[in-house]
């Protein structure tokens, strides 16, 4: 843990948005409560996930060292931070970057955090987030504060929540877009963040925005809710809207999204998203997490029933001014260039620059400007590079930067005349790598490096393939250069192997009584057209033979390709059986004694074992809204005690009363999920549903504990003394316990 956590708290006091500051303090209290064993580990795990604090490989406190599994000597006297997760084991912090939009100031803070808390690497993910690894839990509130000070939140970055809202990194500058989706993506982000209707999902929910149908920048078809910009003309007026697709997703079993609406006017975007969230929260699977994504609900119901239910829900929603307020300003705040437009000056000689120009520059819809891609190997960059990039963005643009789903960063609004100078600056910072979006730009998930579920080393393989391709990539045929290669460490598809031309995902095989890392070869996926179709696995090949497999596939394509034939069409024509046969002999393994390296993974000399695979946290535990609310209520009573100890009786009393209301609301929500935060309404509903019916009555104490609540409500607003605050804290404890007991009685009754 860092020595400076308290210093940062003091330094940033008053500099954070109030809401964020409050949320972070709450999280800090939750950490403390868990440390003291006062919060259940399962609930705490989901709580921290919803704050972006994720688990990492080996955090169960053991690791296979190549010959045996050994315990890692963490201090086990402390509590866990989740089921089977050691408190002191470092974890990962996921930082949401909505639609990838960042400022240079934010990049500088990210650089500082990577340096001070992580391993000096900031990693861009396939959903435009940043991830920092090897972070200690007790440091996470400080990271959150430092991020919040520059307008970034980690809230709902993981767990069963609305994840980062992704969007085309070229929005607003793309020649092919219907319109700039940025303000809509921003509005949806703000609207859903922390919204009460998105707190009770059985699994995560991923939205994405795309400016057009044909390109892959937004990958709408592989999202839970994909928005594709569209316009239509009504009475001579151009109207903006979105084609809405739902239920897409990769994972073990990929699903293509279904069309929910061919054209949804922009005014309906937020209410429909809200209605959809409510339907998902209410009807989505909660027990079996492998069937809990919205795609399974849509599959069970069919798109027509799903649509009908969402539209009905939409009709019931009370009007929320936020649905349309933002529409008045969608054309304000547009990005502007720093420098006037220009033309590319003559390029003399440099082959590296010529290659970079070919692959890393994309013309903007605005004449005289381009967007430049900074290709990050495996999505990684150092803190120094991030700072340099912030400088470069300021030097050549108004700081207009976005992360991409290909784990890169784009700099928008570069005047064409500045291109050579921009390249020089990037190259000097080690960021001038050519080959963006081509075969060299391999995407890989964290795999066995840091992911608890990793089976094979996706990053190790990606690095190996990159280094083999680097020397020859630009000599290869154009058709080969343009192929997309994506790698996942397991079937969960975080590396998006289904939507690449050539994909790989990690599996293991038992050979000669040894476990051997393998990759399934996946062919036929389509990157374009917003991830238009998914590939299928054809054969599992030992990891160490995958480079040979790739070479053979490429050679075969080159030899048999018909003029202008895309790789996807080629695979469809020759058939997967032929490719399987082509690779068949690569399945054979040399003897262990002759070639022991085949029995280890890439960049890892340990004899391979699947013993390190743990339970993933991708989904988080399914924790009901009731449990969350009750944990909150308990935390509030704890806070009340703390403030009373520091002499603030009034605050302590008020907080205890709020905790009782929170608990009462939690139990009301079981029957009536539209309950508001209005104290009168909570009391009324609680009384009607649980007191008058005697459901709440304790077998021995009857309605005594409910009467504590009623009395506290009746005297709300009366000043507290030290004594009355102390009494109320005691009563709040007892009331909360009674709510738990009542809930347990209801559950056991319904179970029997």
């Amino acid at each position: 843990m860092k020595a400076s956590n308290r210093l940062w708290e003091q330094r940033l006091e008053g500099h954070l948005p109030e809401q964020l500051a409050q949320e972070i303090s709450t999280f800090e209290t939750e950490i403390e409560l868990r440390r003291q064993g006062k919060v259940d580990e399962r609930i705490f795990a989901e709580t921290r996930l919803r704050r972006g604090a994720y688990g990492q490989r080996y955090d169960n406190g053991q690791r296979h060292d190549g010959s045996q599994t050994r315990q890692l000597a963490y201090d086990t006297s402390k509590n866990t931070k989740g089921p089977n997760t050691v408190w002191d084991a470092p974890g990962m912090m996921r930082i949401k970057i909505p639609y990838g939009g960042m400022t240079p100031e934010q990049m500088e803070v990210m650089a500082e955090l990577a340096e001070e808390y992580s391993d000096n690497i900031a990693h861009v993910t396939t959903r435009q987030d940043f991830q920092l690894h090897f972070i200690h839990l007790e440091d996470t509130p400080t990271l959150m504060r430092r991020l919040a000070a520059v307008g970034i939140t980690t809230r709902e970055a993981c767990g069963n929540s609305v994840r980062n809202v992704t969007g085309c990194p070229y929005s607003g500058v793309c020649p092919d877009e219907a319109f700039d989706v940025t303000p809509y993506a921003d509005a949806l982000t703000q609207f859903l963040l922390g919204h009460p209707d998105v707190q009770n999902f059985g699994r995560k929910f991923k939205p994405s925005f795309s400016g057009c149908t044909q390109h892959a920048c937004g990958l709408a078809a592989m999202h839970d809710m994909g928005m594709i910009a569209a316009t239509r003309e009504v009475d001579g007026q151009v109207e903006r809207g979105f084609k809405i697709v739902v239920g897409g997703g990769l994972g073990a079993v990929p699903h293509q999204a279904k069309v929910f609406a061919e054209f949804l006017p922009v005014e309906e975007l937020l209410p429909i998203a809200q209605a959809m969230s409510r339907v998902f929260a209410r009807h989505g699977e909660k027990k079996n997490r492998s069937k809990a994504r919205i795609k399974f609900l849509i599959k069970t119901w069919g798109i027509d029933k799903f649509k009908e239910t969402v539209l009905k829900e939409r009709q019931k929603l009370p009007n929320d001014p936020r649905w349309t307020e933002y529409l008045n300003s969608v054309d304000d705040g547009k990005e502007t260039p720093l420098n006037p437009p220009g033309e590319l000056p003559p390029i003399n000689g440099s082959e590296r620059l010529a290659r970079w120009l070919k692959t890393n520059i994309r013309a903007q819809r605005q004449a005289g400007y381009v967007t430049a891609t900074v290709a990050l190997p495996l999505g990684d960059m150092t803190s120094d590079q991030l700072r340099s990039l912030a400088d470069i963005a300021r030097q050549f643009t108004n700081g207009t930067i976005r992360t991409t789903v290909e784990q890169n960063i784009v700099i928008r609004w570069v005047s064409k005349k500045d291109i050579p100078a921009l390249f020089d600056a990037l190259d000097k910072a080690g960021l001038g790598e050519p080959g963006a979006s081509n075969i060299l730009d391999i995407v890989a998930c964290p795999g066995t490096d840091t992911c608890k579920l990793g089976i094979s080393s996706s990053r190790g393989l990606a690095a190996e393939l990159r280094s083999r391709l680097a020397g020859k990539c630009f000599e290869l045929d154009e058709a080969i250069q343009g192929l997309h290669v994506k790698i996942s460490g397991c079937f969960n598809s975080c590396g998006q192997h289904h939507i690449s031309d050539i994909g790989f995902y990690g599996v293991s095989r038992n050979i000669q009584s040894f476990q051997v890392p393998h990759f399934q070869v996946v062919l036929g996926g389509q990157w374009e057209e917003n991830a238009g179709s998914y590939g299928l696995p054809i054969v599992a090949i030992p990891s160490k033979r995958i480079p040979d497999a790739l070479d053979r596939i490429i050679d075969h394509y080159m030899k048999l390709r018909e003029k202008g034939e895309s790789f996807q069409l080629f695979i469809n024509r020759v058939g997967k059986a032929q490719i399987r046969q082509l690779l068949d002999d690569l399945k054979t393994m040399p003897d262990h004694d002759a070639e022991p390296s085949f029995y280890a993974d890439w960049a890892d000399p340990r004899e391979y074992s699947t013993g390190d695979i743990g339970k993933g946290e991708c989904a988080g535990e399914v924790v009901s809204a009731f449990e969350f609310a009750m944990t909150d209520a308990e935390r509030m009573v704890f806070d009340a005690q703390t403030v009373l100890d520091s002499g603030e009786a009034q605050k302590a009393g008020t907080e205890s009363y709020s905790a009782m209301l929170k608990a009462a609301k939690a139990i009301v929500m079981i029957e009536y999920d539209d309950i508001t935060d209005d104290p009168d309404e909570i009391i009324e509903e609680f009384q009607e549903r649980y007191f008058d019916t005697k459901v709440f009555f304790d077998p021995f104490a009857g309605g005594k504990f409910a009467n504590y609540l009623f009395a506290a409500h009746d005297s709300a607003g009366t000043p507290f003394t030290e004594e009355s605050a102390r009494h109320l804290i005691e009563e709040a404890h007892l009331f909360i316990e009674a709510v738990h007991s009542c809930y347990n009685r209801i559950r056991s009754k319904s179970a029997s």
Partner: protein, 186 residues
């Protein structure tokens, strides 16, 4: 001023001839054999990052790496956990940990080609911007403490301390010595 989270980088002498991939094997062996003090967790390969951390040995309280930051290879030791004691204790712990790792690597790669760390230069920085902002005030407080600590090993007035040019960098100094120092004496 309290200086926690001390980071030290000792540079490779001249051009590094060792294939960085070999550090992966060595670091895994260090974990297996418990070669270094403290809990070591895993090895991460960042060789694909230009001027990056190279090969990292991730630990619970400290990280080690053979890194190429600034396009210069060197052994970096980075203390993550709080260390009780005085600033001098913390300087010593970081320098001795880095020096020990350098010696181990030198003896592992003692031939064909050999790996040797320089004895006239290292970086020492404080990986915490709140405790040690990169300012003149920090430099003024830090310099006498570090000089007092280093003088017995490096000789009074026999070394220079140069802070980084970029104000956004971590606070620290590059230490250059007039005479080669002994790694074991640090």
């Amino acid at each position: 001023m309290e200086f926690q989270h001390v980071t030290v980088k000792i540079y490779v002498d001249g051009e590094m001839q060792t294939d960085p991939a070999k550090f992966i094997d060595v670091f895994h062996a260090w974990i297996r054999e418990g070669t270094l003090d403290g809990l070591l967790i895993d090895v991460i390969d960042y060789r694909h990052v230009p001027a990056g951390p190279g090969v990292m040995l991730i630990g619970d309280a400290s990280h080690y790496s053979m890194d190429n930051v600034g396009c210069r290879w060197g052994l970096r030791y980075s203390r993550k956990a709080v260390l009780e004691g005085s600033n001098e204790d913390r300087f010593r712990e970081a320098l001795q940990s880095a020096a020990k790792a350098c010696q181990l690597l030198e003896s592992h790669f003692d031939a064909d080609p050999s790996l040797r760390f320089g004895r006239t230069e290292f970086d020492l920085s404080i990986n915490d911007r709140a405790l040690a902002p990169n300012t003149q005030e920090t430099l003024a407080a830090f310099t006498p403490e570090l000089e007092a600590f280093l003088s017995p090993a490096l000789g009074h007035g026999e070394f220079t301390l140069t802070p980084p040019a970029d104000q956004r960098s971590l606070f620290g100094v590059n230490v250059k010595t007039a005479r080669p120092f002994d790694l074991t004496a640090l």
